[in-house]
């Protein structure tokens, strides 16, 4: 089915479902409550388990289907740790974007993002989320979380060749050098 027709049909169904919304809203609240409870049991500080699945699905489609060197668990925890340290409303916005990303495919008569086949996810990212100025382009911002989780992996950093410096002997040498410059 063409993309525009899918969207039109989805919006028509959404409009037809309006009378059901009073029932759907309490159901959504219950679902959110359950997710929060599961967050506690999964050990995350900010992310709900469903958001963790969205992040993994996004990374598979965006960066590569193989997990990062330290595995998906470390990847998700990197994101969770970062979000738990941030102060301010942007955490709420980033979390909202993740939820929106998971459910946005429903607007094109598809399933939830994390349950879509890899090819469909890649297609959605390239054709819907990364279109400059497109309706769903703000959702592409969650890719920053994907990048953060992936590249904060210590093993990825090690393989990149990057090292924080100067440490140990090199640091002492540099200190001595700066003193020389200062006197000169």
């Amino acid at each position: 089915m063409p993309e525009r027709l899918r969207t039109a049909v989805a919006f028509a169904l959404l409009a037809l479902s309006l009378p059901l919304w009073p029932v759907a809203l309490p159901a959504t609240a219950l679902w959110a409550r359950r997710e929060r409870r599961r967050r506690r049991s999964s050990g995350y500080a900010v992310l709900w388990p469903s958001m963790a699945r969205t992040l993994v699905a996004h990374a598979e489609a965006w960066i590569g289907s193989a997990p990062p060197p330290s595995g998906w668990g470390v990847y998700v925890r990197n994101v969770d740790r970062y979000l738990s340290l941030v102060r301010g409303p942007s955490v709420g916005l980033q979390v909202a974007l993740l939820v929106a990303m998971e459910y946005a495919p429903l607007l094109t008569l598809r399933g939830r993002f994390s349950r879509l086949p890899l090819g469909t996810r890649r297609h959605l990212l390239a054709r819907r989320y990364l279109v400059p100025g497109g309706l769903l382009s703000p959702l592409a911002w969650s890719r920053q979380l994907v990048r953060l989780g992936w590249h904060a992996d210590p093993e990825t950093r090690r393989r990149s060749g990057h090292a924080f410096r100067p440490e140990g002997r090199e640091r002492r040498t540099l200190r001595a050098r700066t003193a020389t410059v200062a006197v000169a």
Partner: protein, 513 residues
């Protein structure tokens, strides 16, 4: 229970403007309290941990976005403000900008401004970056510029005992960067200023044309704080200061208007041999071109991946050691003062996600055109410097391998939204100074129009972009503003601070490197 703080002066914000003002007030013997939303992070608290630094030192964890989510706006959120996460590269305001400001009623006499820059630079120990602190990519850029007959200039920066670790944007864990938290703030504290971190000012209370109190929140306890002073100085920066005016209903018709920025995005190139561009300062050399500046800016691994065009990031994920061969250079161009700081209309609906001011700004055509021209030049510089491929700053991978390929940039970047990684670290304006009573927020004396005892001293006062990295200009303007804020002329020289102490110890009179 509401906690109450009393002082003669209250300064909101401890960045470039607030820190200088607090010091000058304390030096004049005035009791002053400085309120800062972020934490007070000392060098010993910092560690080489990029997610931690992003989350704790930056506003919104480095993910502050413009209203349409098209650009990032990087600002510091800690004692010392954005100076703590900046590269402290220092430029004086171009003469053309000074004249333009004067034409709009923001008069900064050339001699006074030059004297202010001299004093500020002596405190910050501003000096040209020595060759042995440059990162290895600087040599390739200089070679490329030379091959094209162009001038390579070296940044001046504010440091003492810099080891060239290349982590300026993560805060300086060596304490070598002379940002506001290492200079003006401790100097002010030694003279009696009180700095209160972790307090967010929410509203200004006004009665009969005077500010009578600030209403704030202690962020750690979630309790209200009321701050009472005789005079108030707003110095929260180009977004927070207009936000405070808007939330308080002060000049709501014009607060937040005429916002501008230096917009920029990185362009990445690959070199055949490993460059290891992380070994040295992030910013070393630059080149000024028509309407834009080409500035070397190489980040540590994670920040590099977060700020690069999307496609390059994916290449780096598939082959992480590629990072050793890559380097990045930013193109920076000023935008006209057409932006606006706004409070989202729907903030009451989703307060946890939306209740904060946002910069409503897009990349204007004039800025896009200047940037694209500069990217074309930069690609030629890279190729002349030995790069095997240059990546266009687009959302998908587009490689430029020969000078002939550079012409493709016009089509690739015809739409400003096609530029990947677009953002700013230099938001300005929003509380513009000027002589127009119906247009400008501030009088030429830095006073909020209609309020006797409230001043603004930060990057929001600029009626347009200063067109260069603004840190030094914000400090120099704050220094000049003290004539009105403190009520007396600023000192002709400042003989204290880490740079002064070192100069005295060495018997030197100039910057000491």
């Amino acid at each position: 229970m509401t906690r109450e703080l009393r002082s003669r002066f209250a300064v909101v914000g401890s960045g470039a403007g607030g820190a200088v003002t607090a010091y000058l007030l304390a030096r004049a013997g005035e009791p002053v309290v400085v309120l800062e939303r972020g934490a007070w992070v000392r060098p010993a608290d910092l560690r080489p941990d990029e997610p931690h630094a992003l989350a704790t030192l930056y506003q919104d964890g480095g993910a502050q976005l413009t209203r349409d989510l098209s650009m990032t706006v990087l600002q510091g959120r800690c004692v010392g403000g954005s100076t703590v996460v900046s590269n402290v590269v220092c430029f004086r305001m171009p003469e053309a900008v000074r004249r333009r400001f004067a034409a709009g009623g923001f008069e900064l006499p050339a001699a006074d401004l030059a004297a202010a820059y001299d004093v500020v630079e002596s405190v910050l120990n501003v000096h040209e970056i020595p060759a042995d602190r440059l990162n290895p990519a600087a040599e390739r850029l200089e070679a490329g510029l030379r091959a094209l007959g162009l001038e390579a200039r070296r940044f001046r920066h504010a440091s003492l005992d810099c080891v060239g670790c290349g982590e300026c944007n993560l805060g300086c864990r060596f304490g070598a960067k002379l940002d506001a938290s290492r200079t003006w703030i401790p100097m002010a504290v030694r003279r009696g200023a009180v700095v209160v971190p972790g307090v967010a000012v929410n509203r200004v209370e006004v009665e009969r044309g005077r500010v009578v109190a600030l209403h704030a929140t202690d962020l750690a306890k979630g309790t209200p704080v009321r701050v009472v002073a005789d005079r108030y100085v707003l110095a929260g920066g180009a977004i927070a200061t207009p936000e405070l005016l808007l939330r308080s209903g002060i000049l709501a018709d014009r607060a937040g208007t005429r916002a501008s920025m230096n917009a920029g995005a990185m362009m990445v190139a690959e070199f055949p041999a490993p460059l290891d561009a992380f070994r040295g300062l992030q910013m070393g050399v630059y080149h000024e071109t028509d309407g834009a500046t080409i500035e070397q800016d190489h980040n540590p691994y994670l920040s590099f991946c977060l700020t690069q065009p999307v496609g390059v990031d994916r290449l780096a994920a598939a082959r992480p050691d590629l990072y050793r061969h890559l380097t990045s250079v930013g193109v920076l161009a000023p935008t006209p003062p057409e932006g606006r700081v706004r409070l989202p209309r729907l903030r009451a609906l989703l307060p946890r996600a939306l209740d904060r001011a946002v910069l409503d700004a897009r990349l204007p055509e004039v800025t896009r055109a200047a940037m694209v021209k500069a990217y074309a030049l930069l690609a030629r510089i890279y190729l002349a410097g030995g790069a095997t491929r240059v990546f266009a700053p687009t959302h998908e991978v587009h490689e430029l391998r020969r000078p002939d390929d550079v012409g493709r940039l016009d089509a690739l970047l015809a739409d400003p939204r096609a530029i990947s990684g677009l953002g700013t670290a230099h938001p300005q304006g929003g509380s513009p100074i000027g002589d127009d009573d119906r247009r400008d927020v501030l009088t030429p004396e830095f006073r909020v129009r209609g309020l006797d005892n409230c001043f603004v001293v930060d990057a929001s006062v600029f009626p347009a972009s200063v067109e260069v990295n603004p840190l030094l200009s914000v400090m120099a303007v704050a220094y000049l503003a003290s004539r009105h804020v403190v009520g007396r002329a600023p000192p002709a020289a400042i003989e204290e601070g880490p740079a002064h102490d070192r100069r005295r110890a060495l018997g030197l009179g100039a910057a000491v490197g």
